[in-house]
């Protein structure tokens, strides 16, 4: 329960009683209280820190796992797709091409997997104390950002190795990463809520992520697909993001049209996710 919650809205009208909160059955569309979220920013920080510091506790390699995940995938795909199947790297050395896709994809997959498991994983916490529940999936996606940052350094090394110059438009990666985090959190929230009721979800997610990865041009270029089927790829919100991700550090033009379609589909998915989450939030303690 907040001990120093920001003043409620009617405080302006009644300065004598600065704090007033009414608890009753709520109907209607769920709202997100941004002021309250802001008040709890320290908690978000500590929850995220907890996620980070316990993730690699009792592991031999520790944070090296953050590098190994995309790096080993890159090696495997370079070997099987790049060498054996001869998939082209869209004018790039295949290892660089696939790492540029695997880097944001690994982040997206980790963030989504973690946030969708977060509600059930923190059930004890959620049934004992009130705080904005949104912080739980949010801290899951934020904690995955640390792994992402470490893996990003490897990208720079890889590009230097292949003597590929880094373009200024690499700065695009900042909004692109934020968008990826946003998408992962939104969908992860919806799945987290669903997971509370049906634990089937946590079994389905590894498959879902695997299928989704192959439905996204992560390890193959878009033009592998015949022209008339490409619109299907665009409906996948990760397509525009991954494509832009790949273009930005190299200074290639970003396909804004594809990005816009991705953004639109992504927003719809996030809206559904948040809505499911907020509905679950109310009955969470009674269900879990």
């Amino acid at each position: 329960m907040p001990s120093t919650q920001p003043l409620s809205h009617d405080s302006a009208k009644a300065p004598a009683t600065p704090y007033r909160l009414v608890l009753e059955a709520s109907d209607g569309p769920p709202k997100i209280d941004l002021a309250e979220l802001w008040h709890y920013r320290d908690l978000l920080y500590f929850l995220t820190r907890r996620e980070i510091s316990i993730r690699y506790k009792q592991t031999l390699l520790g944070l090296a796992w953050a590098v190994l995940q995309p790096l080993l995938s890159m090696v495997v795909f370079s070997l099987f797709l790049g060498r054996l199947a001869g998939v082209n790297g869209d004018g790039l050395p295949y290892p660089v091409f696939s790492y540029l896709g695997l880097l944001p994809w690994t982040y997206f997959a980790n963030a989504m997997t973690r946030s969708s498991a977060s509600l059930v994983g923190n059930a004890n916490l959620l049934s004992k104390v009130y705080f904005p529940r949104l912080l739980i999936p949010l801290s899951a996606t934020l904690s995955a950002l640390v792994d992402f940052a470490i893996a990003f350094v490897v990208l720079l090394g890889l590009m230097a190795w292949y003597r590929i110059p880094l373009s200024v438009s690499v700065l695009w990666l900042v909004p692109l990463t934020l968008a990826t985090a946003f998408l992962a959190t939104g969908i992860g929230m919806g799945l987290a809520a669903l997971n509370v009721q049906y634990r089937d979800v946590q079994h389905a997610i590894p498959f879902l992520m695997q299928l989704w990865m192959f439905a996204t041009p992560v390890v193959y270029p878009v033009d592998t697909l015949p022209e008339r089927w490409r619109f299907l790829l665009d409906l996948n919100p990760m397509t525009g993001l991954i494509e832009a991700y790949r273009a930005a550090p190299l200074g290639r033009p970003i396909d804004l049209g594809s990005l816009a379609v991705s953004a639109a589909v992504g927003l719809v998915l996030v809206a559904i996710g948040v809505w499911r989450f907020r509905r679950m939030e109310k009955i969470f303690a009674d269900v879990v």
Partner: protein, 411 residues
């Protein structure tokens, strides 16, 4: 206290459905087919679900500085009330008006992670309870001093003893500065001395700082020490309110006599009632360490239940099992035919040391736990006339083992 109440509860009600929205056991496929069959019907509405009101039209006010005890036996609605006040769940009807910030302690050390150090856990737990980082920075020294774990501040709490863990956890909670504090009997954990310190701190808070406290406990001693007024809940309804002494004596005398009784029928073999009795069969709430006492368990077996087993466990308030016992230990196989039964378990005298204990009751078979009530009831064992307590009532230990002693002289 009408207009300046800190907390006003009006006609508060909470309905739970048995087999209702808590349909965790149902799988996704079932839910999907049901949706497809009736796409426009709310998935939760079902004929066969039974509902019960965990809280039913409860109203009371708390004025600033008031310390209110909430008593009632298990299932009376105490925890539901706490959950609503803590914003963990919403009421079905009625409302709560809060005119101050609330901190609720339903558990000490919520969010504590064993791998994190004491310091990290102070910050995590503190922010979970609603504190800001700089507020914790400011109070850190005080928190650490209160917890008495200075030397282990940077040690992962998994290396802490349970006493240290609880002290640290409570120290954080004790330094919250809400205007209304809602406390579950979590404070019953920890050693007696620390308990006193906690209760003392709570008393201080209420007296000196005029903080409003709502205290839920089975410990009548603590309720009487701390609370000026109390309310008694029975089956979700408020049945008595007033001065603590009167409400407590009503609780101890009436049908609210501490003991377990089931509120809903699950359709499985189930404990209906658990009671503490003296060797003559008269109901009691306390036992004497030197005297035997009995536990009477009324249970039902709705359908024949092959392999049914019945057992009890005596636990410390921290949840450490002192002993467990089942009928088979005494060479008795519990009947498996449908029917209602009473099991009488005699616990010999001179075995338990004085202290407070939880009694857990379990019905199970090889495949699953059919009913587990933990705790079904709480009992206090008072020091009996024994040399053990000749000097002090605070003798350490949970059980009394008569050891043989010899001392030889080497001279």
């Amino acid at each position: 206290m009408s207009s300046e109440a800190m907390l006003r509860v009006t006609e508060l009600s909470k309905r739970y459905r048995v087999g209702g929205p808590a349909r965790l056991s149902n799988n996704l496929r079932e839910a999907l087919t049901e949706r497809l069959r009736a796409p426009f019907r709310r998935a939760a509405s079902r004929e066969d679900e039974r509902e019960f009101w965990a809280l039913d039209g409860v109203s009371f006010d708390l004025s600033p500085g008031q310390v209110l005890g909430v008593i009632g036996k298990n299932g009376a609605g105490k925890s539901t009330l706490l959950k609503i006040l803590s914003r963990i769940t919403e009421p079905t009807r009625g409302r709560v008006e809060l005119h101050g910030r609330v901190a609720s302690l339903l558990e000490v050390g919520t969010g504590f992670h064993p791998e994190l150090t004491g310091r990290e856990n102070i910050y995590l737990n503190g922010t979970i309870l609603g504190m800001r980082k700089r507020e914790i920075d400011r109070k850190l020294d005080e928190i650490v001093a209160f917890s008495e774990v200075e030397r282990f501040l940077d040690t992962p709490v998994k290396r802490y003893s349970s006493g240290m863990y609880v002290r640290l956890a409570f120290a954080v909670a004790a330094h919250l500065e809400p205007e209304i504090l809602v406390v579950d009997e979590v404070l019953a954990v920890g050693d007696a001395e620390f308990q006193k310190k906690c209760l003392g701190k709570m008393g201080d808070i209420a007296e000196r700082e005029g903080r409003t406290i709502l205290f839920v406990s089975h410990n009548m001693g603590a309720v009487q020490r701390l609370c000026g007024t109390a309310i008694l809940l029975r089956a979700g309804r408020l049945v008595a309110a007033g001065e603590t002494r009167e409400v407590v004596s009503r609780y101890l005398a009436g049908e609210d006599r501490p003991g377990y009784s089931a509120t809903v029928r699950t359709g499985k073999p189930q404990l209906l009632r658990a009671e503490l009795k003296d060797p003559q069969g008269a109901p009691v709430t306390r036992a004497l360490s030197t005297e035997p006492f009995q536990v009477h368990l009324d249970y039902t077996v709705p359908q024949p239940a092959p392999g049914l087993r019945v057992g009890i466990g005596l636990l410390t308030l921290e949840g450490v099992a002192v002993f467990t016992s089942e009928s088979r230990d005494a060479g008795l196989t519990a009947p498996v035919e449908a029917g209602e039964y009473t099991a009488r378990v005699a616990i010999p005298g001179d075995v338990l040391m004085a202290g407070d204990f939880h009694l857990a009751v379990c019905l199970w078979n090889q495949a699953e736990i059919l009913d587990l009530q933990e705790p079904a009831l709480t009992l206090s064992v008072d020091p009996g006339p024994s040399p053990l307590y000749a000097e002090s009532a605070a003798r350490k230990g949970l059980v009394h083992i008569p050891c043989a002693w010899e001392v030889e002289s080497h001279a």
